[in-house]
């Protein structure tokens, strides 16, 4: 039988096949598992749209809420929040200076130690990646082929 004839012959026979009926045990099994996990199908709760409106309004409302809330808190705490905010800003500035120093030191280390051998390093890593990819492909095909024979 030629391939096109064989294809249409098999396709005709297979298309006549009804879907195999599921065993009677499947439905109770699924229901038991589903009821056990949650009781009833999960319904996702969402905020009513009227409470939130379009994104721009939402953003403006959040900004106003945070500013007013912050000012109220500062007022009720007698300026202690403002002072704490100043301390936090000073600490952040110090951290930023420290980070900049570290970056500078890293740049010096890179230029002195790593840059001269960077090309060789990149080539070596590239070779290793190619080797690993080939190994992975070989293992995958072996497993796939191994699973069918």
């Amino acid at each position: 039988m030629k391939p096109p004839d064989l294809e249409s012959f098999i396709h005709k026979r297979l298309s006549e096949l009804p879907a195999p009926n599921a065993p009677g045990t499947l439905l109770p099994r699924i229901m038991a598992e589903a009821i056990g996990t949650g009781g009833s199908p999960r319904r996702q709760w969402s905020w009513p749209g009227s409470l939130w409106g379009p994104p721009a309004v939402r953003l403006a409302a959040w900004t106003v809420l945070i500013l007013v809330g912050g000012l109220l808190l500062d007022w009720t705490s007698g300026g202690r929040i403002g002072y704490a905010w100043g301390v936090f800003l000073a600490a952040a500035e110090e951290a930023a200076i420290g980070a900049a120093t570290m970056v500078h030191e890293a740049q010096v280390l890179w230029r002195v130690l790593l840059e001269p051998i960077a090309v060789y390093l990149i080539l070596w890593v590239g070779c290793m990646l190619v080797f690993l990819a080939l190994l992975w492909e070989a293992l995958r095909s072996m497993l796939w082929e191994g699973s069918v024979r």
């Binding site: 297979l14 009926n21 599921a22 439905l27 009833s40 996702q44 699973s147 024979r149």
Partner: protein, 180 residues
């Protein structure tokens, strides 16, 4: 209709399609039941969106196919390293073929049901590398290129495997027809 009742109706509606797809791809009824259960539990998690959706059937079919392919490539491959199961080993167990035959009550229906059962048995007897692409091509109506992409093998190999699968299927069907 309560949520649980609606979900039960949903499972009743689609269970044959999901189980049928799984059992043809996996060739094993108990594994097909496991995969079907996982598929429906995934559907349960998003039942609010899926329950009334007209695309629920397509979603279930896609998820079933993907889970079966994952199952074949991950779990069974590992398991077979330790225990080489011969294809057709589970044929002695009563399964959906017997249920298929039992459905036909009249003589003509019975004969047709027996023929369908023989064909299902022949599909199950195919080696996995022929059965999976053949089922994807003929039942799931995927193209050769799609199947090659899904299974991660070359287009040429897919075409060869499907052709060999058809040949094997034809031979098995002929052998079954000749068996009294």
């Amino acid at each position: 209709m309560t949520g649980a009742t609606a979900f039960e109706a949903f499972v009743r509606k689609y269970q044959d399609m999901v189980f049928g797809t799984a059992v043809r791809l996996l060739g094993d009824e108990s594994e097909a039941q496991d995969v079907s259960q996982t598929v429906f539990l995934k559907a349960f998690e998003r039942f609010d969106r899926l329950g009334e959706s007209p695309s629920a059937g397509g979603w279930l079919r896609t998820v079933t196919t993907n889970l079966c392919l994952n199952h074949l490539s991950r779990y069974r491959a590992r398991w077979r390293l330790f225990s080489q199961r011969r294809p057709g080993q589970s044929e002695t167990e009563p399964g959906y073929e017997e249920r298929l035959v039992a459905r036909g009550s009249q003589d003509a229906d019975l004969e047709r049901a027996q023929e369908h059962a023989r064909l299902e048995r022949a599909i199950r007897r195919l080696p996995q590398h022929q059965r999976v692409p053949l089922v994807l091509f003929h039942f799931e109506e995927r193209s050769y290129a799609e199947i090659a992409g899904m299974l991660g093998v070359s287009l040429g190999k897919i075409k060869t495997d499907i052709h060999r699968g058809r040949e094997t299927l034809r031979k098995l069907m002929v052998a079954d027809d000749e068996t009294p």
